[in-house]
């Protein structure tokens, strides 16, 4: 952790999260959803935030905007956006940042749009909240946005209600809403998971082109390694509320060092590898109320040893820009599961 602090502070950083802890106080106990997560996003780059369900990815993103639903509470850490700690800001200040500086795209387009208001209403509302424009101007801007996300006949479609549109279109509108005030940072929470595969590809292509056009930074949250491969510049792998490994995309895919990262890569069915059986990571997601001691992955890890259960492995920078939280990283087999493609 200290290594990160010393080396960083690159002026190009737009967001830095330090040791974030967000817990949920439920009837069954305290769920430690995010338990010491640190990451950073540089200007103009896309950070892929990868992990299984329950790894804390969404909660991290919600914590950035401080809209974690009850009974969640942010207990520790710093979230530094453009040099200021968001956790110290007032609600009024935050409302100026949400939607304007930082945009958010939700996972399920069917539920993230209000069913009783038209698209026009929902888009212009956000625009007029953050910008001082007339109703007419806001409407024009909204139609421009729909064109930007490649929706046909925007002047007509804008008056539709969410239930009249397909899943793909709804998600495009969600993207439009997130981008409506030209945010510098976009948080995309599994934007393609609930869509058909073909639509997925379209939306990803759209997001890539928008990112280039508008020069935004983005955190793309997903559990799908295939999705990040094409879009992300750097990847942070999360497991059970903690960071396992952070590096640029190529390094993660071809020179992974954390057993969990390797397991994730191995589990991806790939035509190139032609395995007969699907590899499965043994065991299941840990209980976040009583998580395993020390390294949270150790019960399922094939490299685990006694020391792994005793101490939380620190996030160590093993080479420039490549951080791993595993005490045995140096012993781990370097050859990537992707085999022969390592040098492409």
């Amino acid at each position: 952790m200290k290594l990160m602090e010393r080396k960083l502070m690159t002026p190009k950083e737009i967001l830095k999260i330090e040791n974030l802890k967000t817990y949920f106080d439920t009837w069954a106990g305290i769920v430690k959803a995010v338990d010491g997560v640190s990451l950073e996003v540089r200007e103009g780059e896309t950070l892929g935030l990868v992990g299984e369900s329950g790894s804390g990815k969404s909660v991290t993103a919600l914590s950035i905007l401080r809209i974690v639903p009850r009974p969640g509470k942010i207990l520790d850490g710093r979230i530094i956006y453009r040099g200021e700690n968001l956790l110290e800001k007032t609600e009024d200040d935050l409302q100026k940042i949400r939607g304007k500086e930082i945009g958010y795209i939700f996972q399920d387009p069917a539920t993230s749009l209000n069913p009783v208001f038209s698209i026009a209403d929902q888009l212009t509302e956000v625009i007029r909240h953050h910008q001082n424009v007339t109703k007419k101007e806001a409407l024009e801007k909204a139609i421009e946005l729909l064109k930007l996300v490649e929706i046909a006949d925007p002047e007509i479609k804008i008056w539709n209600f969410p239930h009249q549109l397909s899943g793909g279109m709804k998600q495009r509108i969600a993207v439009a809403r997130a981008l409506s005030c030209q945010p510098s940072l976009l948080l995309a929470d599994e934007p393609t998971t609930n869509l058909d595969v073909t639509i997925q590809a379209q939306i990803l292509k759209l997001m890539r082109s928008l990112k280039e056009k508008l020069g935004m930074s983005m955190i793309l949250i997903t559990h799908d390694m295939g999705v990040v491969a094409g879009v992300a510049d750097r990847i942070t792998v999360l497991y059970a509320g903690r960071v396992c490994e952070t590096a640029d995309t190529k390094t993660i895919f071809y020179r992974p060092r954390h057993p969990y990262t390797i397991a994730l890569l191995t589990a991806v069915p790939s035509l190139a590898l032609r395995k007969e059986k699907l590899t499965v990571i043994p065991g299941s997601i840990p209980n976040l109320i009583e998580p395993p001691t020390g390294c949270r992955f150790h019960p399922r890890c094939e490299y685990a040893e006694a020391a792994c259960a005793k101490k939380i492995p620190p996030l160590v920078e093993i080479e420039h820009g490549h951080y791993v939280a595993c005490i045995r990283w140096s012993e781990i087999d370097v050859e990537s599961p992707l085999g022969a493609k390592a040098n492409e």
């Binding site: 106080d25 009974p71 207990l75 710093r78 209980n287």
Partner: protein, 318 residues
Amino acid sequence: MKKCEVSIMKRKKSAKLKLPVRNENKRSRGVSQWNIAWRRFRRNKAALVGALIVGFIIFLAAFDALIAPFPPNATPGFYTGEARIPPSLKYLFGTDYIGHDVFSQVVYGARAALFVGFGSAAIAMSLALLVGIISGYYGGFIDNILMRITEVFLVIPFLLILLVFLKVITTIAPSGVGGLSTVMIMIGLFSWASNARIIRGEVLRVKESEFIEASKALGASKRRIMFRHIFPNVLHIIIVLTTLMIATAILVEAAVSFLGFGDPAAITWGQQLQKANEAVKEAWWEGVFPGLFITLLVLGFSLLGNGLRDALDPRLRE
């Protein structure tokens, strides 16, 4: 650096509850739906209070002869000039205009309340189940017809028709026929409609869910699907609706008796309120106590019903 408070750690219950999947080795312990529901129910204080109240009234009804100091409809105050006196040690709730001990009468009224409550609910729910399941499951033409009929019953002014029927039956039938049973049956016959709609909704919801598709794909017959899959899933809502229906039935019987259309021979709290209405100015105790018990019993079943609903709802996340 400002640390957010860790005050949430002070929650009392967190450590004590055991989660089923505590760690992988203990996963084999049974976590059936009923287990979870029972646990949730136990935690719900309001539901427990409801159960306690209902239990208490049932106890009163079961042992009414032992608890009440005087026999049913006895008028101990009449001869000793103690009619219409306020509550005292001898007459806990006072006496009414003719010398009945209000306390005894109230205790005896418990039985009638429970009788009408359970009876009406049984009839209404049976009809609702029949209509709801058939309508929901078969759909199409049958569904249409049944739903139209249901809507007609929903639009009919319930209380008005009830009063008419009761009056007519008590007039033409030789005295003593049924009496309270008639009231009970009538209430049941007119209360099934809204629950039928709800049940039908649940059946439809279950029908569309994917595991029914899976079951069909495996070749199960229609009837088998209906009983083994749909029915258990609708069961939870049936339990809740029945409990709430009992509460409603008790209120209706009270209203009907209060208006004077109940069975004059039966001892019910509604009847007592009817007589008390004329005496409200001089003898508040005549009306206050029976009414209190009606409220109490209805509250008991309401709390119980709501508690059951919270405990049994499969969609409620922990």
